[in-house]
Symmetry: C2
Subunit: 73 residues, 2 copies
DNA sequence: AAATATTTAATGTAAAACATTAAAAACTAA
DNA sequence: TTAGTTTTTAATGTTTTACATTAAATATTT
């Protein structure tokens, strides 16, 4: 699935732990983990919103569309 | 809800109609309309993925976090 | 090794994406 | 303004799944 959720960069920038992010978002840290590892098939905007608010960033800083490379032989 | 879904800009750039986008994504045009009008509380990544693929853009071109302005008196 | 942080797993529930049908409203053009 | 076309709104239903919870397994750090 070529939508990549990358929280690590912003977490590092804000020097914040997954646990803290989870707590501030108001979801279980297990779910932050699932988000990070790309094991989630969507996001609710209120979650995305809180992430952006807490990490002070834009959705584009976290979500990336990476077209799957069917070029490689 | 301060997550803004803006499809109009990219649709205009690609000179594409909502109907066509809907058809290419594989969802009803009603749902594209709901997405556009911000009446949807989340997206599935496979939908977002197809949007990005079809409109040749990134999630950040479509999704915006606009902190609600509580400053205005 | 012990303490802390993160991930994985399994199961359950509530929320909602998206479908479908139908109609209304907005554009566009004649 | 009438007809054609596109977009939006509405109402209802189904199925997917985000997120919760509990528990355990791995990292990671000290």
């Amino acid at each position: 699935m070529p939508i990549i959720v990358n929280l690590d960069v912003m977490l590092a920038k804000r020097k914040m732990r997954s646990r803290d992010l989870a707590a501030q978002i108001g979801i279980a840290e297990q779910n932050v983990s699932l988000l990070k590892s790309g094991k989630v098939k969507g996001v609710r905007f209120d979650t995305l919103e809180k992430i952006c608010e807490i990490l002070q960033c834009q959705p584009g800083d976290i979500l990336e569309y990476r077209p799957d490379d069917t070029t490689t032989p």
